[in-house]
Symmetry: D2
Subunit: 149 residues, 4 copies
């Protein structure tokens, strides 16, 4: 049986961008992954809020890893595309990105993503994503090109 | 007359995320903005390519600033939503994100975005974005809550 | 107090396309609208399944009317944009499109949509939508142009 | 050599929905397909304009068939997902949907779509689509279940 937590955390630790943004993995379960992102001025847009790109990056990773928990053993996943709506400004002390598998097909996995902003104890949804993830049979380092396969 | 280059570059310089990613503004014209991103391992996903989130961040900013060049004087812009397709892995020495206004309405501006990857002299399109940007009349520090860029 | 059922059903009855497709309104509540679509060969794609466009049309209407139930009195709604994923072929005797408001802003309302296909008693989700709806204060027949406002 | 016009027009003639909407194929070339849609009250939304769903249906078919012209011989195509922005109301005597391949991968083909509305001689772009089309190797009647187009 696959150790999902190990599978995801090993891959996550190789994502230089997640370290650069200060994001960390907080939960891995079958079909659902959570990633936390503390506020930092290094992530800001021009008004001091967190940039939509940083928010998008963490929820993209959360969706991709949610898909990975449902992929056949030995498969990799790559994001084919996503769409994201920003409901309100990314104002908060910390953010939580949640990726969930909605449908896992043989080839394409559809995920929904959500980002919550927390200020003190209470959270608000600030972004909603819908993503299409491709399962790739051959590891990319053997010559396969994961995107746009 | 508005100095578009000044308008965009002053706002860009306040985006902490762009500095964190190592991105810089390379061209501002009426309805079109270019942002360059050199490769760095600090931007990687698990296979060493540039993470989709970093690619998305720069093309989101390029689309937002393209919209800003078309916005009425004194207006701010915020990203309402976007969709992005990844055509191939983000492999390259440097990347160029191009945002172009397709239609500037009174309230909503529709932009298309493209990211090219360069290895040596030749470039390839690696991502395509379609974005909806909102023009906001009141500066955010007077109680308006824009979201996104 | 607004009679939501009356508000939505009067508008729905003016949508020529819904009659052409054979769709009918089955539920209106605050923030959620259901539209049913029976199978017909008049809606087919080349393999005899229901065309993605017919599926999209009914869930677009369901999302738009869900947004209308949350709009200020006297406001109209128009679809700014949406994204839809098709999870499996539209095979079934009847289809049910469900639109739900996820966030109702002053200007933009974000809805999620889902289409279920029924064969006998059991249903399966075949499509997922994420839509952005604009609230328009002036009725379009008074010179306002609802889309791309 | 494949007769692209024959390939597309034979499939198009089986799409019951296109006949129901009154759409017809006007151009097929390598990587680009045009579909025309005359105005009809049978296609209306509540204000008498053409419903976003009818506009979406024809540009979805145009994108799908553009992808088909680039698919390997014997392959079918199905729409995995798309996103569409509506720039202005669908007001016109006739509409032209144009689907173009932006990138044809082994598995996924990315298309851009555009719909123009014509009143008298002049046309205006009213909608922009970005679509992901899947190439399916096994004909659907042999047990494969494509979705979409």
């Amino acid at each position: 049986m696959i150790d999902l937590d190990k599978l995801v955390s090993e891959s996550f630790s190789k994502q230089g961008l997640m370290a650069t943004l200060g994001a960390h993995l907080t939960q891995v379960s079958d079909g659902e992954v959570h990633i936390a992102l503390p506020f930092s001025t290094a992530l800001s847009q021009q008004h001091g809020y967190v940039h939509a790109g940083a928010i998008t990056s963490v929820v993209d990773s959360a969706c991709g890893y949610a898909a990975l928990t449902k992929a056949p053993a030995g498969f990799e996943v790559v994001t084919a595309e996503f769409k994201i709506n920003f409901l309100r400004p990314a104002v908060g002390e910390r953010f939580l990105a949640i990726g969930k598998v909605q449908n896992a097909g043989r080839l394409l996995t559809i995920c929904s993503g959500e980002v919550q902003a927390f200020m003190g104890g209470s959270g608000k949804v600030i972004a909603l994503m819908q993503a299409t993830i491709v399962s790739v049979g051959n590891p990319p380092d053997r010559g396969q090109t994961p995107h746009g396969v």
